[in-house]
């Protein structure tokens, strides 16, 4: 019994760690898309940011400067998206695809040229990374049954960015629903003409939204490269940007449901390995690949309207042309 509980605790703890980059990216996607700008480029921005974080951490040895570098790169990529989609009214999906492919290519090219390891960055020492934090009383807590391990491993034992991710959700919710900026942001995603008529700049609002998205992708990349791992490796985002996009759609473009979708997908990720070779009563063995594909399948099913209705922001994907 106790053993089972410890296992459950370890799965919960892994769920939080797996969900962290998804939460950052889902919030990023939410801000961008609630303002009316489709963000297929989460994956690319996160990858570029992860590369930047690892490079800066290698050179400076400081995780904080690395975070700053990653955020700057994330914002630059987001601004490129903004210039293409907001200023030049280009196709937002095409721009996102371009960002993903550019990031996939450039990170390997630059990494290979600078470090000569086929795109990998050198391994980082703990000082240059965000390491798990010690919360008070964690060591003693183990002796307390049930609650002890929960306290030490699920509430505690994570690195700083995990906490930042889960704080970003209420903050994002507050900004979106309880500030003037948030109200305008949602309005511009539903009907930009109304916002424009009120004398507020549609373009500047949307730019701010994509900058927020870039910043959050910067955090996600930093987490992957210098918190969860000890360096950058090619294509290390491995589709997480798309899972986050799926989570955001699954959460119907709202912060709390999106976070729960991220936790669900993180949970699936955490149990996929543990379920290898396990036989379920009545079902038999479930292949790991099926569990890995579940986030995508669930999103398709949801989008098809079989489970409730996912309503996208009304003006999503439409560039705004001011009337002349």
């Amino acid at each position: 019994m106790d053993d089972l509980w410890l296992q459950a605790v370890s799965i919960l703890s892994a769920t939080l760690r797996m969900a962290t980059p998804l939460v950052f990216c889902a919030m990023a996607g939410m801000f961008s898309e609630r303002s009316g700008t489709i963000d297929i480029g989460l994956e690319g921005k996160m990858l570029a940011a992860a590369f930047a974080a690892a490079c800066v951490a290698v050179v400076t040895g400081s995780p904080w400067i690395a975070l700053l570098g990653a955020v700057i790169v994330g914002i630059l990529m987001a601004l490129l998206h903004g210039v293409a989609c907001i200023t030049y009214r280009g196709n937002q999906v095409v721009s996102g695809v371009a960002i993903n492919i550019m990031a996939a290519g450039l990170t390997v090219v630059l990494g290979n040229a600078w470090f000569g390891r086929g795109g990998q960055t050198p391994d980082l020492l703990p000082d240059a990374r965000f390491m798990p934090l010690k919360i008070p009383g964690a060591d003693g807590a183990y002796s307390i049954p049930i609650v002890g391990p929960l306290y030490a491993n699920v509430i505690g034992g994570h690195n700083l960015l995990v906490y930042v991710a889960f704080i970003a959700v209420p903050v994002g919710w507050w900004v979106l629903y309880h500030t003037r900026f948030g109200l305008r942001l949602r309005a511009v995603g539903e009907d930009p003409k109304v916002v424009d008529t009120a004398g507020i700049s549609v373009a500047w609002l949307r730019y701010r939204a994509v900058i927020i998205a870039g910043t959050l992708c910067g955090f996600a990349g930093t987490y992957l490269a210098i918190a969860q791992n000890a360096g950058f490796s090619p294509q290390m985002t491995a589709g997480r940007g798309f899972i986050a996009l799926a989570a955001m759609v699954f959460g119907k473009w709202r912060p709390w449901p999106a976070m729960f979708a991220c936790l669900l997908f993180g949970f699936l990720d955490a149990i996929a390995i543990r379920l290898q070779g396990v036989t379920f009563p009545g079902i038999g063995q479930v292949p790991v690949e099926a569990i890995q594909a579940l986030p995508y399948i669930l999103t398709v099913v949801l989008l098809a309207g079989f489970v409730g209705r996912a309503m996208a922001p009304h003006a999503l994907g439409q560039p705004y042309v001011k009337e002349r």
């Binding site: 280009g90 095409v94 721009s95 996939a104 290519g105 390997v108 090219v109 690949e289 890995q292």
Partner: protein
């Protein structure tokens, strides 16, 4: 910018000059990156160009790569004509490979090549089209967005192929997920074999007869899109679904038809890679060709001739890039991937960035020409 003249430019500007300007812009940025990593871009260009044209081997490799890009470029273009963005070419080609593999594994000890190869192709086409049909149905009848569903289907395809390759088809003793090797009857003939049979000596390369299928697909797409009522329906829906309804066209059925065709075209990659070269199913044989197709279609302006030209260009970039990374190891092969992204950015997303100033320039020159004629 808001006051930019949206004038109609002559066709040669839109389909000739603009893509070339986009390409130059992408090359300039790529050159800048090459400069940043300490390599002379002009040297790099020279090595790449020579790496493509040096002999018949390098040219054959270029065409072999280009074959894939023609298939995926056409696939993206047909969907574009219907106003759909099919990001799922990668997954459709991947699943098509499964179809070809299953058909061939079942039949390769019974049938001769003359029957086996068409059956493999048909199986690939059915699987590829089928994999595109689900997102198409969901878009047409359930209102889910095709971009998101095709992305999801790429990942679902990848998981499915890992499962099939490792748990079902993997022969005993094989470490990596794959199928057993096909019987020789299922091999699509290589071009050098055919040439040898005709009496010409050619070095051995992966270039195979799937390039003929690619050529047939180009002709078919041109006839279908511009010379049949179905193609007319596709273009009508792509321009304005509402107007198409008034013309008695059902946009839902057009979405299904266009995506079906798109998946069927992407299936050509399976013909080239699985039946023409690897002769077995293996993981990641599509290798990003589905995404290259987006760049190819955008640069080729969704027209078969343009697609052939830009597919050859990207084939040359792949071949030249491989040569370049061999000569100068600092420049990784993935430079080509970055280059694709840049082309998609400049000729797709930033398409409206160039048009205004080119239009202004054109009008200026045009007016001068008119004035010169008048005096």
């Amino acid at each position: 910018m808001s006051g930019a003249p949206q004038v109609a430019l002559p066709r040669w500007v839109d389909i000739g000059l603009l893509p070339i300007i986009n390409l130059i812009q992408a090359l300039l940025v790529a050159g800048l990156v090459v400069l940043v990593i300490g390599v002379n871009p002009l040297d790099a260009m020279r090595i790449m160009a020579w790496g493509v044209v040096q002999d018949s081997v390098s040219i054959s490799y270029t065409l072999y790569y280009a074959t894939d890009f023609i298939f995926t470029g056409l696939a993206v273009a047909v969907a574009f004509h219907a106003g759909l963005f099919n990001i799922g070419g990668e997954g459709q080609a991947y699943i098509a490979g499964l179809g070809a593999t299953l058909a061939i594994l079942a039949l390769d000890s019974y049938l001769p090549g003359i029957l086996l190869i068409p059956i493999g192709l048909v199986a690939a086409v059915i699987f590829g089209a089928g994999w595109a049909l689900v997102p198409a149905y969901l878009q047409a009848y359930r209102g889910s967005h095709i971009v998101i569903t095709t992305i999801m289907f790429n990942f679902i395809a990848a998981s499915l192929m890992v499962y099939v390759g490792s748990d079902i088809l993997r022969p005993p003793g094989e470490m990596l997920p794959s199928s057993r090797e096909f019987g020789p009857a299922a091999y699509l003939p290589h071009v050098h074999d055919v040439m040898a049979w005709l009496g010409f000596e050619m070095p051995s390369t992966p270039l195979n007869l799937s390039i003929l299928w690619a050529a047939a697909c180009c002709v078919f797409v041109w006839v279908f899109i511009w010379r049949t009522r179905w193609g007319y329906a596709i273009r009508a829906v792509g321009l304005s679904p509402k107007a198409a309804i008034y013309a008695g066209i059902s946009p839902k059925r057009v979405v299904m038809m266009a995506m079906c065709l798109s998946g069927a075209l992407a299936a050509g990659v399976a013909l080239n890679q699985i039946m023409g070269y690897h002769h077995r199913m293996l993981l990641d044989f599509v290798a990003g060709a589905g995404f290259t197709g987006i760049a190819v279609a955008l640069m080729g302006r969704n027209h078969p001739i343009g697609i052939v030209l830009s597919a050859i260009l990207f084939g040359a970039l792949y071949q030249g890039g491989a040569e370049l990374s061999f000569e100068i190891p600092t420049v990784n092969r993935d430079m080509v991937v970055a280059m694709q992204g840049l082309v998609i950015m400049f000729s797709g997303a930033l398409a409206y960035m160039n048009r205004p100033w080119i239009a202004r320039l054109y009008l200026m020159l045009d007016r001068r020409a008119v004035l010169a004629e008048a005096t």
